[in-house]
Amino acid sequence: MTEDVTEVAYQHQPSARDAGITKVAALTVALTLAGVAGTAGIGAAIANAAPAPKKAGTDYSKNKTTGKGNQAGGKNTGGNNTGNTGGGGTAGNGGGTSTTPPSGSVTPPNDNPESSSGDEQSTSGGS
């Protein structure tokens, strides 16, 4: 009964059927492209992920571009999950260049410290 009614409607308005077919086709293409892009993105993210450096005397920031393909990104470091608050677990990313600091975290400086060869004017040490 429903099919009969639909067929009648299409007979009266064939443009509606054509438009529907066009929309389905466009949606299929969009979903296919999104799937391909997503797969490529995940692959690129894995390929760019850097291993957690363990060697002594290391500049950790320099590991951004030296990662190997078998180091998975996006794992939880577990380092800041605290027993008494139950919060704070943050998603790591293996040090990739697209690192986004966790929301609500300490704000980095506007200007990084730079090397200096002159005599110090003040001292930052434990107190």
């Binding site: 920031s61 110090e120 040490g125």
Partner: protein, 313 residues
Amino acid sequence: MIAQMTIAQTRFEVWGTTAHLLIADTAALPAAETALRRVLRRIDRACNRFVPDSALSRLNAAAGRTVLVEPMLLNAIGVALRAAEQSGGLVDPTVGPALAAIGYDRDLAAIPVDNPAPIRALPAAGWRTVSVNDRLGTVQLLPGTSLDLGATAKALAADLAATELATRFGCPVLVNLGGDLAVAGGGEPWRVRVTEDHRAGDGLPGQVVSVRSGGLATSSRTVRTWRRAGQQVHHLVDPRTGRPADLTWRCVSVAAADCVGANVAATAAMILGPHAPLWLAQRRLPARLVAADGTVHTTAGWPSQQRAKEYAA
């Protein structure tokens, strides 16, 4: 152009450590020192848990009841709770009882050099147990708990003072409170030596870096120490365990947008131990970490250092 300006400076003792003020206007130094001392007095009256009639001591004594607190303490508690949130609870103001349980229940100078009693481990109640009503200006602590603002109040004082002085005198300013350092007012970068003990001068190895804005702080486990039952104890308590933090790092220096942030990150790094470099790098915080064996590690653009094993024997 600081390099071509005359820098005036003064030092004085405060909170068992040294305050160091530098200002790029010689004539402004006396008034600037007066203003700095005023900020420190306000923080001290509000936040010093070793002063019986401070606002914090009154709040701690009233744990379990809702207390109307003065604006400075309310601000300092807000800063401490944000620090706890930012650090995932690693820097937690409810460590007051934990610090007392390991022996840090009075000014450092008054702690017995070697108490034969072993420490007690008392995990923190957790910062989420603190109830704050900003609109009414009230705070309520759980019964039996107390706050210690030592991890943030000194850095907050440095931030407040540096901003106030730079605004008031219209020139570059550096305020250093025992290694918690804030700069404001622009100008050429300040040259700062990072090392294990801020009073060590050239006696300990370190690194000189230039800092243009924001804050720089160093957290160390080798300065505020005492002995209990024959064991050396330090003041950086892990809120999760109530015990002094692990011994992975001798000291950690961090640069951030302000001194509070720098100090929070440095303290959190000390507590995190081996996880600290990744934690700092994920937050893009430039840091210098000195391992127990003297090896120097850096993160997120901290300038390189030629002598990588400077602390090695």
